[in-house]
Protein backbone atom coordinates (compact mmCIF):
# COMPACT_ATOMS: atom_id res chain seq x y z
CA UNK A 1 0.00 0.00 0.00
CA UNK A 2 2.75 2.38 1.05
CA UNK A 3 4.83 1.46 -2.00
CA UNK A 4 1.85 2.04 -4.30
CA UNK A 5 1.18 5.43 -2.69
CA UNK A 6 4.82 6.42 -3.17
CA UNK A 7 4.60 5.43 -6.80
CA UNK A 8 1.49 7.54 -7.38
CA UNK A 9 3.08 10.53 -5.66
CA UNK A 10 6.25 10.12 -7.71
CA UNK A 11 4.21 9.94 -10.89
CA UNK A 12 2.21 13.05 -10.01
CA UNK A 13 5.20 15.14 -8.94
CA UNK A 14 6.03 16.45 -12.44
CA UNK A 15 2.38 17.51 -12.85
CA UNK A 16 2.41 19.44 -9.53
CA UNK A 17 5.73 20.95 -10.50
CA UNK A 18 4.38 22.07 -13.86
CA UNK A 19 1.34 23.65 -12.21
CA UNK A 20 3.57 25.50 -9.76
CA UNK A 21 5.90 26.52 -12.52
CA UNK A 22 3.16 28.49 -14.28
CA UNK A 23 3.63 31.22 -11.62
CA UNK A 24 7.36 31.07 -11.94
CA UNK A 25 7.05 31.32 -15.72
CA UNK A 26 5.08 34.59 -15.58
CA UNK A 27 7.08 37.14 -17.50
CA UNK A 28 8.35 40.27 -15.80
CA UNK A 29 7.59 43.51 -17.61
CA UNK A 30 8.77 47.05 -17.04
CA UNK A 31 6.25 49.80 -17.76
CA UNK A 32 7.36 51.85 -20.76
CA UNK A 33 6.77 55.44 -19.65
CA UNK A 34 6.78 56.70 -23.22
CA UNK A 35 3.88 54.51 -24.28
CA UNK A 36 1.94 54.52 -21.03
CA UNK A 37 -0.33 57.16 -19.61
CA UNK A 38 -2.56 58.01 -16.70
CA UNK A 39 -5.28 60.45 -17.65
CA UNK A 40 -8.29 61.71 -15.75
CA UNK A 41 -11.38 63.77 -16.28
CA UNK A 42 -13.50 65.71 -13.83
CA UNK A 43 -16.82 67.44 -14.29
CA UNK A 44 -16.61 71.24 -14.32
CA UNK A 45 -19.74 73.15 -13.26
CA UNK A 46 -21.82 70.13 -14.30
CA UNK A 47 -21.40 71.41 -17.85
CA UNK A 48 -18.33 69.73 -19.27
CA UNK A 49 -15.33 67.57 -18.53
CA UNK A 50 -11.87 68.90 -17.83
CA UNK A 51 -9.04 66.52 -18.74
CA UNK A 52 -5.60 66.09 -17.27
CA UNK A 53 -2.72 63.63 -17.24
CA UNK A 54 0.40 62.67 -15.35
CA UNK A 55 3.48 62.78 -17.53
CA UNK A 56 5.76 60.71 -15.32
CA UNK A 57 4.57 57.16 -14.86
CA UNK A 58 6.62 54.14 -13.89
CA UNK A 59 6.00 50.62 -12.73
CA UNK A 60 6.27 46.94 -13.44
CA UNK A 61 4.09 43.87 -13.78
CA UNK A 62 4.30 40.11 -14.01
CA UNK A 63 2.00 38.47 -16.51
CA UNK A 64 1.43 35.00 -17.85
CA UNK A 65 -1.43 34.75 -20.40
CA UNK A 66 -1.98 31.12 -19.40
CA UNK A 67 -2.42 32.02 -15.73
CA UNK A 68 -3.70 35.61 -15.55
CA UNK A 69 -4.76 35.19 -11.92
CA UNK A 70 -1.09 35.20 -10.98
CA UNK A 71 -0.63 38.65 -12.44
CA UNK A 72 0.76 41.39 -10.23
CA UNK A 73 1.07 45.07 -11.03
CA UNK A 74 2.74 48.03 -9.38
CA UNK A 75 2.47 51.47 -10.86
CA UNK A 76 3.18 55.00 -9.68
CA UNK A 77 2.74 58.52 -11.00
CA UNK A 78 4.54 61.64 -9.90
CA UNK A 79 2.10 64.28 -8.68
CA UNK A 80 4.40 67.06 -9.86
CA UNK A 81 4.08 65.81 -13.46
CA UNK A 82 0.41 66.75 -13.55
CA UNK A 83 -0.54 68.47 -16.80
CA UNK A 84 -3.91 70.02 -17.67
CA UNK A 85 -2.64 72.26 -20.45
CA UNK A 86 -2.74 75.37 -18.24
CA UNK A 87 0.37 75.94 -16.12
CA UNK A 88 -1.35 78.22 -13.63
CA UNK A 89 -4.10 75.68 -13.02
CA UNK A 90 -1.48 72.93 -12.74
CA UNK A 91 0.26 74.88 -9.97
CA UNK A 92 -3.03 75.25 -8.13
CA UNK A 93 -3.80 71.54 -8.53
CA UNK A 94 -0.38 70.62 -7.12
CA UNK A 95 -0.96 72.81 -4.04
CA UNK A 96 -2.47 71.58 -0.74
CA UNK A 97 -5.90 72.45 -2.16
CA UNK A 98 -5.71 69.27 -4.24
CA UNK A 99 -2.72 66.95 -4.75
CA UNK A 100 -0.43 68.49 -2.09
CA UNK A 101 2.46 67.42 -4.29
CA UNK A 102 5.32 68.55 -2.06
CA UNK A 103 4.13 66.42 0.83
CA UNK A 104 2.82 63.55 -1.29
CA UNK A 105 5.02 63.38 -4.39
CA UNK A 106 3.75 59.96 -5.53
CA UNK A 107 0.43 58.25 -6.18
CA UNK A 108 0.64 54.48 -6.27
CA UNK A 109 -1.36 51.40 -7.10
CA UNK A 110 -0.40 47.87 -6.10
CA UNK A 111 -2.50 44.89 -7.12
CA UNK A 112 -3.57 42.33 -4.54
CA UNK A 113 -5.66 39.90 -6.61
CA UNK A 114 -6.77 39.24 -10.18
CA UNK A 115 -9.79 37.33 -11.41
CA UNK A 116 -10.40 36.35 -15.02
CA UNK A 117 -13.80 37.52 -16.27
CA UNK A 118 -13.55 36.56 -19.92
CA UNK A 119 -10.91 36.30 -22.56
CA UNK A 120 -8.62 39.34 -22.22
CA UNK A 121 -10.76 40.87 -19.50
CA UNK A 122 -9.82 40.68 -15.83
CA UNK A 123 -11.00 42.07 -12.57
CA UNK A 124 -8.08 43.48 -10.64
CA UNK A 125 -8.24 44.50 -6.99
CA UNK A 126 -5.49 46.54 -5.44
CA UNK A 127 -4.47 49.27 -3.03
CA UNK A 128 -4.49 52.79 -4.36
CA UNK A 129 -2.63 55.44 -2.37
CA UNK A 130 -3.36 59.11 -2.86
CA UNK A 131 -2.59 61.92 -0.39
CA UNK A 132 -1.25 59.31 2.01
CA UNK A 133 -4.59 57.53 2.17
CA UNK A 134 -4.74 53.94 0.93
CA UNK A 135 -8.01 52.45 -0.29
CA UNK A 136 -8.75 49.15 -1.92
CA UNK A 137 -10.26 49.56 -5.38
CA UNK A 138 -11.43 47.05 -7.98
CA UNK A 139 -11.10 47.76 -11.70
CA UNK A 140 -11.81 45.94 -14.92
CA UNK A 141 -8.53 45.49 -16.74
CA UNK A 142 -8.45 44.78 -20.45
CA UNK A 143 -5.50 42.98 -21.94
CA UNK A 144 -5.09 44.95 -25.18
CA UNK A 145 -2.57 42.58 -26.70
CA UNK A 146 0.97 41.24 -26.84
CA UNK A 147 3.52 41.06 -29.59
CA UNK A 148 6.97 41.80 -30.88
CA UNK A 149 8.13 45.39 -30.70
CA UNK A 150 11.22 47.13 -32.02
CA UNK A 151 14.35 44.99 -32.08
CA UNK A 152 14.12 42.02 -29.77
CA UNK A 153 11.56 43.53 -27.46
CA UNK A 154 8.32 41.82 -26.58
CA UNK A 155 5.43 44.05 -25.49
CA UNK A 156 2.20 43.57 -23.56
CA UNK A 157 -0.39 46.24 -22.88
CA UNK A 158 -3.40 46.81 -20.64
CA UNK A 159 -6.01 49.50 -20.23
CA UNK A 160 -8.57 50.28 -17.57
CA UNK A 161 -11.03 53.06 -16.86
CA UNK A 162 -12.51 53.46 -13.41
CA UNK A 163 -14.08 56.06 -11.16
CA UNK A 164 -13.04 57.20 -7.71
CA UNK A 165 -14.42 59.72 -5.27
CA UNK A 166 -11.57 62.11 -4.55
CA UNK A 167 -13.04 62.99 -1.14
CA UNK A 168 -12.48 59.34 -0.09
CA UNK A 169 -8.77 60.14 -0.24
CA UNK A 170 -9.06 63.45 1.61
CA UNK A 171 -9.10 65.63 -1.52
CA UNK A 172 -12.16 67.57 -0.44
CA UNK A 173 -11.50 71.11 -1.62
CA UNK A 174 -14.18 72.56 -3.96
CA UNK A 175 -16.21 69.38 -3.98
CA UNK A 176 -19.60 70.29 -5.39
CA UNK A 177 -20.98 72.20 -8.31
CA UNK A 178 -17.69 73.69 -9.53
CA UNK A 179 -15.73 70.43 -9.47
CA UNK A 180 -17.28 67.01 -9.08
CA UNK A 181 -16.27 64.61 -6.36
CA UNK A 182 -16.18 61.79 -8.88
CA UNK A 183 -13.11 61.55 -11.08
CA UNK A 184 -12.78 59.15 -14.01
CA UNK A 185 -9.29 57.75 -14.39
CA UNK A 186 -7.90 55.91 -17.41
CA UNK A 187 -4.68 53.97 -17.05
CA UNK A 188 -3.07 52.64 -20.23
CA UNK A 189 0.18 50.77 -19.80
CA UNK A 190 2.59 49.14 -22.14
CA UNK A 191 5.27 46.91 -20.68
CA UNK A 192 8.45 45.59 -22.25
CA UNK A 193 9.42 42.05 -21.24
CA UNK A 194 12.65 41.98 -19.24
Amino acid sequence: MTARFSLVVTALLPIFAAAGASEVLADAYKVDKTHSSITFRIKHFRASYCYGRFNQVKGSFDFDPAAPESMSLEIEAKAKSLDTNDSKRDKHLKSPDFFNAKEFPKMTFKSTSVKKLEDKLFEMTGDMTLLGTTKSITVQLEHVGSGKGMGDSYLTGFVTTFKIKRSDFGMDFMVGKALSDEVEVTVAIEGARQ
Partner: protein, 291 residues
Protein backbone atom coordinates in the same frame (compact mmCIF):
# COMPACT_ATOMS: atom_id res chain seq x y z
CA UNK B 1 -20.99 77.79 -3.24
CA UNK B 2 -19.73 81.38 -3.22
CA UNK B 3 -22.54 82.37 -0.85
CA UNK B 4 -21.70 79.45 1.43
CA UNK B 5 -18.00 80.34 1.43
CA UNK B 6 -18.75 84.01 2.14
CA UNK B 7 -21.10 83.10 4.97
CA UNK B 8 -18.71 80.63 6.52
CA UNK B 9 -15.41 82.34 5.77
CA UNK B 10 -16.27 85.97 6.52
CA UNK B 11 -19.55 86.36 8.37
CA UNK B 12 -19.19 83.41 10.78
CA UNK B 13 -15.87 84.54 12.36
CA UNK B 14 -17.08 88.14 12.72
CA UNK B 15 -20.37 87.05 14.27
CA UNK B 16 -18.72 84.46 16.51
CA UNK B 17 -16.08 86.82 17.91
CA UNK B 18 -18.56 89.65 18.51
CA UNK B 19 -21.02 87.29 20.19
CA UNK B 20 -18.32 85.68 22.33
CA UNK B 21 -17.08 89.08 23.49
CA UNK B 22 -20.64 90.12 24.33
CA UNK B 23 -21.37 86.82 26.08
CA UNK B 24 -18.19 86.94 28.17
CA UNK B 25 -18.89 90.56 29.09
CA UNK B 26 -22.42 89.64 30.17
CA UNK B 27 -21.20 86.66 32.20
CA UNK B 28 -18.61 88.83 33.90
CA UNK B 29 -21.14 91.45 34.93
CA UNK B 30 -23.66 88.84 36.00
CA UNK B 31 -21.38 86.49 37.94
CA UNK B 32 -18.96 88.91 39.54
CA UNK B 33 -20.09 91.99 41.32
CA UNK B 34 -16.79 93.16 42.77
CA UNK B 35 -14.29 94.74 40.36
CA UNK B 36 -11.54 92.38 41.54
CA UNK B 37 -13.73 89.38 40.73
CA UNK B 38 -14.55 90.83 37.31
CA UNK B 39 -10.86 91.36 36.58
CA UNK B 40 -10.05 87.81 37.67
CA UNK B 41 -12.76 86.43 35.37
CA UNK B 42 -11.55 88.53 32.45
CA UNK B 43 -7.82 87.88 32.80
CA UNK B 44 -8.03 84.26 31.73
CA UNK B 45 -10.33 84.67 28.75
CA UNK B 46 -8.55 87.03 26.37
CA UNK B 47 -7.76 84.38 23.77
CA UNK B 48 -11.29 82.91 23.76
CA UNK B 49 -13.08 85.28 21.33
CA UNK B 50 -10.48 85.08 18.55
CA UNK B 51 -9.28 81.52 19.22
CA UNK B 52 -12.75 79.99 19.32
CA UNK B 53 -14.11 81.98 16.38
CA UNK B 54 -11.14 81.06 14.16
CA UNK B 55 -11.39 77.45 15.35
CA UNK B 56 -15.08 76.99 14.58
CA UNK B 57 -14.70 78.70 11.22
CA UNK B 58 -11.79 76.39 10.43
CA UNK B 59 -13.97 73.36 11.21
CA UNK B 60 -16.93 74.77 9.27
CA UNK B 61 -14.73 75.24 6.18
CA UNK B 62 -12.53 72.16 6.39
CA UNK B 63 -14.75 69.64 8.16
CA UNK B 64 -14.09 67.42 11.13
CA UNK B 65 -11.58 65.28 9.22
CA UNK B 66 -8.78 67.72 10.08
CA UNK B 67 -9.08 66.85 13.76
CA UNK B 68 -7.04 63.72 13.03
CA UNK B 69 -4.50 65.20 10.59
CA UNK B 70 -3.47 63.23 7.52
CA UNK B 71 -1.82 66.18 5.82
CA UNK B 72 0.72 68.38 7.57
CA UNK B 73 -1.19 71.64 7.06
CA UNK B 74 -4.08 70.20 9.08
CA UNK B 75 -1.93 70.56 12.21
CA UNK B 76 -2.72 74.28 12.04
CA UNK B 77 -5.91 73.61 13.99
CA UNK B 78 -3.95 71.90 16.76
CA UNK B 79 -1.44 74.74 16.83
CA UNK B 80 -4.35 77.15 17.12
CA UNK B 81 -5.90 75.26 20.05
CA UNK B 82 -2.52 75.05 21.75
CA UNK B 83 -1.84 78.79 21.28
CA UNK B 84 -5.33 79.64 22.55
CA UNK B 85 -4.90 77.56 25.71
CA UNK B 86 -1.32 78.52 26.48
CA UNK B 87 -1.90 82.11 25.44
CA UNK B 88 -4.44 82.49 28.20
CA UNK B 89 -1.60 82.12 30.70
CA UNK B 90 0.96 84.02 28.64
CA UNK B 91 -1.12 87.17 28.45
CA UNK B 92 -2.46 86.98 32.00
CA UNK B 93 -1.50 90.33 33.56
CA UNK B 94 -0.59 88.85 36.94
CA UNK B 95 1.76 86.13 35.71
CA UNK B 96 5.39 86.90 36.58
CA UNK B 97 7.88 87.83 33.88
CA UNK B 98 9.91 84.67 34.42
CA UNK B 99 6.88 82.40 34.15
CA UNK B 100 5.67 84.26 31.07
CA UNK B 101 9.07 83.77 29.52
CA UNK B 102 8.99 80.03 30.17
CA UNK B 103 5.40 79.69 28.95
CA UNK B 104 6.18 81.82 25.90
CA UNK B 105 9.15 79.65 24.88
CA UNK B 106 7.22 76.42 25.51
CA UNK B 107 4.06 77.62 23.78
CA UNK B 108 5.73 79.07 20.68
CA UNK B 109 8.16 76.15 20.40
CA UNK B 110 5.48 73.47 20.57
CA UNK B 111 3.16 75.44 18.26
CA UNK B 112 5.96 75.75 15.68
CA UNK B 113 6.81 72.05 16.03
CA UNK B 114 3.16 71.15 15.43
CA UNK B 115 2.75 73.09 12.19
CA UNK B 116 6.11 72.87 10.42
CA UNK B 117 5.89 69.98 7.94
CA UNK B 118 8.14 67.09 8.92
CA UNK B 119 9.07 66.52 5.25
CA UNK B 120 10.58 69.98 4.85
CA UNK B 121 14.34 69.91 5.31
CA UNK B 122 16.01 71.33 7.34
CA UNK B 123 13.01 70.92 9.61
CA UNK B 124 14.81 72.04 12.79
CA UNK B 125 15.74 75.38 11.22
CA UNK B 126 12.15 76.02 10.15
CA UNK B 127 10.80 75.14 13.60
CA UNK B 128 13.38 77.38 15.23
CA UNK B 129 12.67 80.26 12.84
CA UNK B 130 8.91 80.07 13.32
CA UNK B 131 9.15 79.52 17.09
CA UNK B 132 11.50 82.48 17.62
CA UNK B 133 9.48 84.68 15.24
CA UNK B 134 6.21 83.93 17.02
CA UNK B 135 7.77 84.49 20.44
CA UNK B 136 9.22 87.86 19.40
CA UNK B 137 5.88 88.88 17.94
CA UNK B 138 4.12 87.94 21.17
CA UNK B 139 6.61 89.81 23.35
CA UNK B 140 6.65 92.96 21.24
CA UNK B 141 2.91 93.19 20.61
CA UNK B 142 1.92 92.16 24.13
CA UNK B 143 4.08 95.02 25.39
CA UNK B 144 1.98 97.44 23.33
CA UNK B 145 -1.25 96.15 24.91
CA UNK B 146 0.20 96.52 28.42
CA UNK B 147 1.24 100.13 28.04
CA UNK B 148 -1.94 101.33 26.43
CA UNK B 149 -0.66 101.37 22.86
CA UNK B 150 -2.47 98.20 21.84
CA UNK B 151 -5.87 99.59 20.87
CA UNK B 152 -5.06 99.11 17.21
CA UNK B 153 -3.85 95.51 17.53
CA UNK B 154 -6.97 93.82 16.11
CA UNK B 155 -6.87 96.30 13.21
CA UNK B 156 -3.15 95.55 12.72
CA UNK B 157 -3.91 91.83 12.52
CA UNK B 158 -6.88 92.46 10.25
CA UNK B 159 -4.74 94.45 7.83
CA UNK B 160 -1.88 91.93 7.87
CA UNK B 161 -4.24 88.97 7.43
CA UNK B 162 -6.00 90.60 4.48
CA UNK B 163 -2.59 91.08 2.85
CA UNK B 164 -1.77 87.47 3.70
CA UNK B 165 -4.98 86.34 2.04
CA UNK B 166 -4.07 88.16 -1.18
CA UNK B 167 -0.51 86.77 -1.22
CA UNK B 168 -1.74 83.20 -0.60
CA UNK B 169 -4.48 83.51 -3.20
CA UNK B 170 -1.99 84.80 -5.79
CA UNK B 171 0.32 81.92 -4.82
CA UNK B 172 -2.45 79.51 -5.79
CA UNK B 173 -3.44 78.11 -2.40
CA UNK B 174 -7.07 79.10 -2.04
CA UNK B 175 -7.59 77.09 1.13
CA UNK B 176 -4.87 78.99 2.98
CA UNK B 177 -6.09 82.32 1.57
CA UNK B 178 -9.49 81.47 3.02
CA UNK B 179 -7.89 80.81 6.42
CA UNK B 180 -6.08 84.14 6.34
CA UNK B 181 -9.42 85.74 5.48
CA UNK B 182 -11.10 84.14 8.45
CA UNK B 183 -8.33 85.42 10.76
CA UNK B 184 -8.90 88.90 9.35
CA UNK B 185 -12.65 88.59 9.90
CA UNK B 186 -12.22 87.31 13.47
CA UNK B 187 -9.80 90.17 14.25
CA UNK B 188 -12.39 92.61 12.92
CA UNK B 189 -15.01 90.98 15.14
CA UNK B 190 -12.71 91.37 18.16
CA UNK B 191 -12.15 95.03 17.29
CA UNK B 192 -15.89 95.62 17.50
CA UNK B 193 -16.72 93.11 20.24
CA UNK B 194 -14.07 94.22 22.74
CA UNK B 195 -16.21 97.24 23.65
CA UNK B 196 -18.58 94.82 25.43
CA UNK B 197 -15.86 92.86 27.19
CA UNK B 198 -12.39 94.17 27.99
CA UNK B 199 -10.33 95.83 25.30
CA UNK B 200 -6.89 95.15 26.78
CA UNK B 201 -7.74 91.54 27.44
CA UNK B 202 -9.18 90.92 23.94
CA UNK B 203 -6.18 92.69 22.36
CA UNK B 204 -3.80 90.40 24.28
CA UNK B 205 -5.71 87.38 22.98
CA UNK B 206 -5.49 88.67 19.42
CA UNK B 207 -1.73 89.12 19.86
CA UNK B 208 -1.22 85.51 20.93
CA UNK B 209 -3.62 83.76 18.54
CA UNK B 210 -3.03 86.02 15.52
CA UNK B 211 0.69 86.29 16.29
CA UNK B 212 0.94 82.55 15.88
CA UNK B 213 -1.65 81.79 13.21
CA UNK B 214 -0.58 84.37 10.62
CA UNK B 215 3.19 83.64 10.54
CA UNK B 216 2.46 79.88 10.64
CA UNK B 217 0.07 80.18 7.72
CA UNK B 218 2.56 82.24 5.70
CA UNK B 219 5.35 79.76 6.40
CA UNK B 220 3.44 76.67 5.36
CA UNK B 221 2.06 78.61 2.39
CA UNK B 222 5.63 79.42 1.35
CA UNK B 223 6.73 75.82 1.77
CA UNK B 224 3.82 74.41 -0.23
CA UNK B 225 3.21 76.73 -3.16
CA UNK B 226 4.26 76.17 -6.78
CA UNK B 227 3.82 79.73 -8.03
CA UNK B 228 6.36 82.42 -8.86
CA UNK B 229 5.31 84.54 -5.86
CA UNK B 230 8.63 85.34 -4.11
CA UNK B 231 9.38 84.21 -0.56
CA UNK B 232 9.83 87.89 0.36
CA UNK B 233 6.08 88.43 -0.04
CA UNK B 234 5.30 85.70 2.49
CA UNK B 235 7.98 86.96 4.88
CA UNK B 236 6.81 90.58 4.70
CA UNK B 237 3.26 89.60 5.65
CA UNK B 238 4.51 87.42 8.51
CA UNK B 239 6.59 90.23 10.00
CA UNK B 240 4.23 93.11 9.18
CA UNK B 241 2.53 93.11 12.63
CA UNK B 242 5.95 93.74 14.24
CA UNK B 243 5.80 97.30 12.97
CA UNK B 244 2.98 98.07 15.42
CA UNK B 245 5.86 98.43 17.90
CA UNK B 246 6.09 101.98 16.60
CA UNK B 247 3.29 102.72 19.04
CA UNK B 248 5.79 102.26 21.88
CA UNK B 249 8.19 104.92 20.65
CA UNK B 250 8.20 108.20 22.57
CA UNK B 251 6.72 110.69 20.10
CA UNK B 252 4.13 108.24 18.78
CA UNK B 253 3.21 107.02 22.24
CA UNK B 254 2.31 110.55 23.27
CA UNK B 255 -0.12 110.99 20.37
CA UNK B 256 -3.87 110.74 20.93
CA UNK B 257 -4.98 107.12 20.60
CA UNK B 258 -6.65 107.51 17.20
CA UNK B 259 -3.61 109.20 15.64
CA UNK B 260 -1.30 106.65 17.25
CA UNK B 261 -3.41 103.85 15.79
CA UNK B 262 -3.22 105.51 12.36
CA UNK B 263 0.59 105.66 12.58
CA UNK B 264 0.74 102.00 13.63
CA UNK B 265 -1.54 100.97 10.78
CA UNK B 266 0.57 102.91 8.27
CA UNK B 267 3.72 101.24 9.60
CA UNK B 268 2.15 97.79 9.30
CA UNK B 269 0.45 98.59 6.01
CA UNK B 270 3.70 99.52 4.24
CA UNK B 271 5.34 96.06 4.28
CA UNK B 272 1.93 94.45 3.74
CA UNK B 273 1.38 96.60 0.65
CA UNK B 274 4.84 95.73 -0.70
CA UNK B 275 4.05 92.03 -0.16
CA UNK B 276 0.75 92.31 -2.02
CA UNK B 277 2.40 94.20 -4.88
CA UNK B 278 5.14 91.57 -5.21
CA UNK B 279 2.57 88.76 -5.23
CA UNK B 280 0.25 90.44 -7.73
CA UNK B 281 3.13 91.26 -10.10
CA UNK B 282 4.55 87.73 -9.89
CA UNK B 283 1.15 86.17 -10.53
CA UNK B 284 0.46 88.54 -13.42
CA UNK B 285 3.77 87.62 -15.02
CA UNK B 286 2.89 83.93 -15.04
CA UNK B 287 -0.77 84.42 -15.99
CA UNK B 288 -1.72 82.19 -18.83
CA UNK B 289 -5.01 81.19 -20.36
CA UNK B 290 -8.26 81.98 -18.64
CA UNK B 291 -7.74 80.12 -15.41
Amino acid sequence: MLIKLTLLGAILPVAASVLLCALLGWLRRRGATALAEQACFTDWLGTVPIGVSVGITYLALNGWAGILPKQSWQWLLHGLVWATLMGATFCHPKVSLLLRGIIGILASGVAAWLVVPAWQEPVAIWILSLGVGVLLLWIVLDRTTRCGAGGAIPAVLLLSAVAGGVVLERAGIARFAQMSGMLAAASGGCLVGSRWFDRRCVDSGVVVVGGFFLPALMLIGHLNHFSEVPGTAFLLVAIAPFFAVLGLLGPVKRLPSLKRAAVQLLAVGAPAAVAVTLAVLAAAAEAEGGY
